[in-house]
């Protein structure tokens, strides 16, 4: 399908493709096994300007938006969605600053992100998953400072990021109007890291606990205004969900890529398995579903970049649809590979493990369906 990419968009896609093939592919299995953070790859992405693609030129970016971020995420995810997430979650972590930061916050932090500084977004807690309003982390005002206490859980890029957007309760009595978003720098006294999770998939991505113990954050680090924490979080997620959708599309496409090759090489009953209609139809479905997911992700991303305000439904749709497609396509990919697909020596079992997360994070696909449904009767 031709999506009429601009010259710059084609450059982004092609360069990410080249980096994936030449630099990421040889180390995919190694990082999947070790669970180390792929610093060497982040360094290459940074030097090649990939972190600049979604940042305005004013902050040393290339002037793109969610569409460009999605393109890069998709192309990198085609080879390793765990490694791609180091980049994509930096988009998520810095998006609140881009959307709600004042000029000096944007100058200070977005220029660093453009250069490849890793960022993270911290909303989830042990008892606050889908129900983010149940968070226990507090930020008490003390003169010009806020004092943060609490634990954030499962934070992507936790520990490796230098810049964190953290949502905490400044006024419990006000419920969802009592949350505030802060920019917290790594190394701030009272800010430390807890366990690093041992995960099923996206193992090259670091998922960690953030621990705040009397961590003093200056009021200049507040994003938007006190009390706007939930709005910051929700508007951010509305804009970054196509990124998860793009990750899912990339995983699905990566699975199709290897299936096309394998099904021609593997022979049973004296012929390549690609001759069997059962396999051919499975591949046709996989391609159809992936293309449909891609079209929806691109359309939603372009809609967001156009400046449209009402984007929750479309953003939820593309993330949810693409996540479900990635899960189905990678499950079928393992089927096409047969027993070999179940083995770690072949790439598809990893893709299947990786795909699962796209149905869970940035809001589970059940929650996405809730968002979509609640928008259906809106005028």
């Amino acid at each position: 399908m031709d999506y009429f990419l601009t010259e710059k968009q084609q450059i982004i896609r092609d360069l990410c493709h080249r980096i994936s093939q030449e630099k990421i592919k040889p180390v995919v299995q190694e990082y999947d096994e070790s669970g180390e953070f792929p610093w060497e790859i982040m360094d290459i992405l940074a030097k090649s300007d990939i972190f600049r693609v979604f940042i305005p030129e004013k902050y040393d970016g290339l002037g793109g938006g969610i569409f460009e971020m999605s393109l890069a995420t998709e192309e990198l995810s085609r080879v390793c969605s765990g490694i791609a997430l180091g980049f994509a979650a930096t988009g998520l972590g810095s998006m609140p600053i881009l959307l709600f930061g004042n000029e000096s916050q944007k100058q200070k932090y977005m220029t660093k992100v453009a250069d490849g500084t890793i960022a993270a977004f911290a909303l989830t807690e042990a008892e606050a998953g889908s129900d983010a309003s149940n968070m226990k982390t507090t930020a008490e005002k003390d003169g010009d400072y806020y004092v943060l206490n609490g634990v954030k859980q499962w934070i992507t890029n936790g520990g490796v990021a230098d810049i964190y957007t953290v949502i905490a309760m400044t006024d419990k009595n006000k419920g969802s109007r009592g949350a505030t978003a802060f920019i917290v720098e790594k190394g701030t006294p009272g800010f430390s890291f807890g366990v690093k999770e041992n995960k099923m998939g996206i193992r090259a991505s670091t998922t960690m606990e953030l621990i705040f113990e009397n961590c003093r954050i200056h009021k200049d680090q507040v994003l938007a205004r006190p009390g706007m924490g939930y709005i910051v979080a929700l508007k951010t997620l509305d804009r970054t969900r196509p990124g998860v959708g793009a990750q899912a599309v990339g995983i699905a496409q990566g699975a199709i890529d290897v299936c096309l090759k394998y099904s021609r090489e593997r022979e049973q009953f004296g012929q390549p398995i690609s001759n069997f209609q059962a396999i051919r139809h499975m591949l046709a479905d996989m391609s159809m579903q992936t293309e449909a997911a891609r079209a929806l992700v691109y359309a939603a991303a372009r809609m967001i970049d156009s400046g449209a305000k009402d984007i929750s439904k479309e953003s939820a749709m593309c993330k949810c649809f693409a996540g479900d497609v990635a899960m189905k396509v990678t499950t079928d990919a393992v089927q096409i590979f047969g027993g070999y697909g179940y083995m770690k020596d072949y790439p598809v079992e990893k893709m299947m493990r990786d795909a699962k997360i796209t149905q869970i994070y940035e809001g589970t696909n059940q929650i996405q369906r809730d968002v979509i449904a609640s928008n259906l009767w809106k005028k």
């Binding site: 710059k8 450059i11 982004i12 360069l15 290459i44 030097k47 300007d49 290339l62």
Partner: protein, 261 residues
Amino acid sequence: MNIVVCIKQVPDTTDVKIDRNTNTLIRSGVKSIINPYDTHAIELGLQIREKLGGKVVVISMGPPQVIDSLKEAVSMGVDDVILLSDRAFAGADTLATSYTLAEAIKSIGNVDLVICGKQAIDGDTAQVGPGIAEHLNTPHTTYVNELCNINSANITVKRMIEGGYEKVEMDLPALITVVKEVNEVRFPSIRGILRSREIDVPIWTSKDLNIDFTKIGLDGSPTQVVSVSTPQINTQTEIFTGNAKEQVHKLLEALNEQKIF
């Protein structure tokens, strides 16, 4: 630090074929690339600039299609590129080539360091780098695999020799030629690619240089290639049949017959 990197566009030898009738390279359909060693020279130039500041200028002598290779250098982040292209330059051997490149480097002026690849994968002579240094009357070191130190006055490098390496210090200006081990070549950047699409590559002809016309091109070349030929390959293959035991037996017989053991 003003650095000049000399590059050559070469056919990608991974898919080069030779026409057995004419004994020449079949160039049609063969991709042209920057000589692989030269990409390491560009990388080293960029790394030195990142450390010391200054400018990296990439030059190449060749036909207009070499513009593509120079644009690729721009996409990696070099400051300027210059193509030396003129019918008068054509047919140059390594002496005339190094003379022409040296004159271009003189015209650029104030150059502290010249970096070349150790050799071009098509000609394999390894003569042009040292030749340029001779024409410029500067010291040079070949086969550099590590840059140990560089400042505004001198450079210290390691060069590969059989069974080890030599550490060499030279006053600047100087010339070095590098091997692949010297660094890992970066990818282009998006900003670099965008700039490479826009840039108009300046072309210098013989008239732009202050040169002696008897020293360039075919006429200025004391060595000339008389003919190129490829060795005959006489491989006879025999495929043994039978079960494994029989095949091994036949193989041993054949090896004995040939007196390989």
